[in-house]
Symmetry: C2
């Protein structure tokens, strides 16, 4: 068999890179759990009916079919989920009788999209989502809570693992929609859709779309574009909006809600959130606060964490389930940092120690030493061959394993980086904390 | 939307059940890492060419296709992996230049099979695999190591989480094949295939197959069946085989290898392994030691952990990659125990504490208390509504959260199980260790 080639759009990691991804996932999960979010996993497949309810998404779906399925076989009309929100909606409806609301859940899983692969776009990628789902109602303070939990997770990745800091851009759909209504615009969604292209095409082109395609008067279009340019690190965005002289009840609601989010974030994670009134989140089902997040210094990656408030995640006729959620694109965040070598690992294996083997006859002694070390939480492996010691040290060195153990339980341990070798008792010796587990190393550390 | 129904063969867990699965996965991963296995994940899809190389497997494959793929589109000839071994073989070939051999890897992922769903058979299920892969050669002692690592993981699940104990049944293909050859049989695979049905159809039916279908003389068939009945908890199986008066070099090799495995297991995990000479592992690619594992008291589930030695996982023409591996069927192990209620969780959410809210105006104080507790590793959530305290306590109770915090940082904490309420400082209070995280509770605990 010739050497297989990678599949475009399906990134895979070498062991050291996977260790970094796992460390990121563990830390994100820890943050979510500290905030009381329960983890769930949903099956990889949903019915095509459930996946294609929003027509415009169908182009990205991977259909799944048994190789020997007969046409019309029940249960074979399936596709891979393209996000974790559609599965959550289905899970909530299916299990509503067994869940407590508000239901706080996190979900860290792969999703699949049949998109054309390009930088930052993958066909298989991992997401980490949090959502808070209410039954019929959900208090507004969860709009503040959700982004703060995600920002805390991202701040932990920055502080503890050295990932770049982030900047979360927040808006409120009611603010934009209320503003447009205050201007007498009826098809507010059409305006939102065009303003959403602001970053890509710039203010002049957006103005042209608004006056041309939508036939808005120049003055009205100009105000829509001026609203989109408002971006502040504090609650002064409200004054900037007031200067535009537009009023509506919905606009006031949106301004108040956004003010609360921005002020809470300023208090808890200063400098990480901005009010950015051009954020629209495309054609999504959001109805209130919306979030997007840039990685500082890597803005070209686009948003690595997005979400918002939706008034109806799902409904079963009797009850509706409003929610607020935010998703972290793990693959989108990590693949570029790993590819550029901005994140590396201190070693490619969990082992902290290689226990050397004198001769095959004494392998059981080495195994005993290893068992004692493991019992004390020290990851180790026994050398695979009773080679000359130099070769066994090279075995450790090639994997980045810092220590080699010689002799029995009362033996000697060599730090192969310094060459220092000391007497050691397997039942008592401890490596320094920093050597216990492989570490994530960020450029600039 | 009507309430969706579960998809047969695609089990999903409620949050408390998922917490149990996650705890099992964490513990298994910890054991694997202590033994120096590095985690990898492979993409969910492989090329159909790679999946169908073993013809008899094709019937189980799920084909994956972009909904709007044109016929003949490149990169769309894909299927979901049905195990983690085919992907490992491809990963090793693809990345051989970047891996260190022997390559010790674990992999915990979902796999998919288009099989008819039935008890113990799923269309989507999770596996936890360990494999040790050599480059051209791999020492025999890894045949001992692999099952001992898996038995240690299973023993940890038994000791720490209360899962049932296991019994691993081990044989060696060389032993069986060498025995058949010593009897003058040429098509040893045909005999192995029929002996593999021993547990299902019994000795009389196997004898009939051997004499009927294969035309073996009665005496020869009888010896094959007698070999299959040998099952010992120590190395006395070798004496039992000797009594049958068959000799061959390959048989001696197999006997010695199996003796080494059994004796090592007796020393390290007494009572958990038996030599069972009817174990064949079907038509798999195994060439040496083979493993199957029963859950004691749940033998009807079949093997929950299987594997073996293979002389060639993959080859690129220049090099071959022999290996030994063993796989744990997480879904197969857990779904029945969860369904029967033999494993439950102490609560359905990670939160240890609900911080009560006096009035919406003091929500920020409650958030502050929660932040201090979290900073000390105590998972908590702030009550979603400033309801009467009784209602906030019920909020905690319905989720199994043991503590409710009242007042500010210098507040009071109530254990809602005992009703005891005490003064507490958020910066110093610690719940008992057993309450810190949700616990897995096994029937009989």
């Amino acid at each position: 068999m010739a050497r297989p080639k990678p599949l475009s759009g399906f990134p895979e990691f070498l062991p050291a890179q996977r260790m970094i991804e796992q460390t990121v996932i563990d830390l994100v999960r820890e943050t979510f759990e500290l905030h009381g979010f329960a983890g769930i996993e949903t099956r990889a497949v949903e019915t095509m009916e459930s996946l294609t309810r929003k027509g415009e998404i169908t182009k990205e779906v991977y259909v799944v079919r048994r190789l020997h399925a007969e046409p019309g076989d029940a249960g074979d009309d399936l596709g891979l989920h393209f996000d974790l929100t559609v599965p959550l909606a289905r899970y909530v409806l299916e299990n509503s009788g067994h869940l407590q609301f508000p239901f706080r859940r996190y979900q860290i899983q792969k999703v699949w999209r049949g998109e054309r692969p390009q930088e930052g776009r993958y066909r298989e990628f991992a997401q980490a989502d949090i959502d808070i789902i209410g039954e019929n109602t959900l208090a507004d303070h969860h709009d503040i809570e959700a982004p703060l939990v995600m920002l805390e997770a991202l701040e932990n990745l920055h502080d503890r693992l050295g990932l770049p800091p982030v900047r979360m851009h927040v808006n409120n759909r009611k603010l934009s929609e209320g503003f447009y209504r205050g201007l007498g615009i009826e098809d507010t969604a059409a305006v939102l859709q065009r303003v959403d292209k602001f970053d890509k095409i710039g203010p002049a082109a957006v103005t042209e779309l608004l006056t041309g395609e939508l036939g808005l008067p120049d003055e009205v279009a100009a105000k829509c574009v001026r609203l989109a340019t408002v971006c502040t690190t504090d609650d002064s965005f409200a004054d900037r909006v007031a200067e535009l002289g537009v009023r509506s009840e919905m606009l006031d609601e949106g301004l108040e809600a956004l003010t609360n989010v921005i002020n809470a974030a300023r208090a808890q994670v200063p400098g990480r959130m901005v009010a950015d009134l051009k954020i629209a989140r495309g054609l999504d089902y959001y109805t209130g606060t919306v979030y997007e997040t840039e990685l500082v210094g890597h803005e070209h990656l686009g948003s690595i964490s997005s979400g918002g408030r939706y008034d109806s995640l799902a409904t079963d006729g009797k009850r509706t389930y409003p929610g607020v959620g935010i998703s972290l694109g793990l693959t989108r965040l990590l693949v570029p940092l790993l590819a550029k070598g901005e994140l590396t690992a201190s070693r490619s294996v969990p082992s902290c120690v290689v226990v050397a083997v004198d001769a095959e006859e004494t392998r059981s002694t080495a195994m005993q030493v290893a068992a004692i070390l493991r019992g004390r939480g020290i990851a180790c492996e026994v050398a695979p061959k009773a080679d000359k010691y130099g070769k066994q040290i090279r075995y450790a060195d090639r994997r980045g394993i810092p220590y080699v153990w010689f002799g029995g339980i009362d033996g000697e341990v060599k730090d192969i980086r310094s060459g220092e070798q000391t007497m050691a008792d397997a039942a008592a010796w401890l490596p320094p904390q920093a050597d216990r587990r492989p570490r994530v190393i960020a450029v600039g550390d």
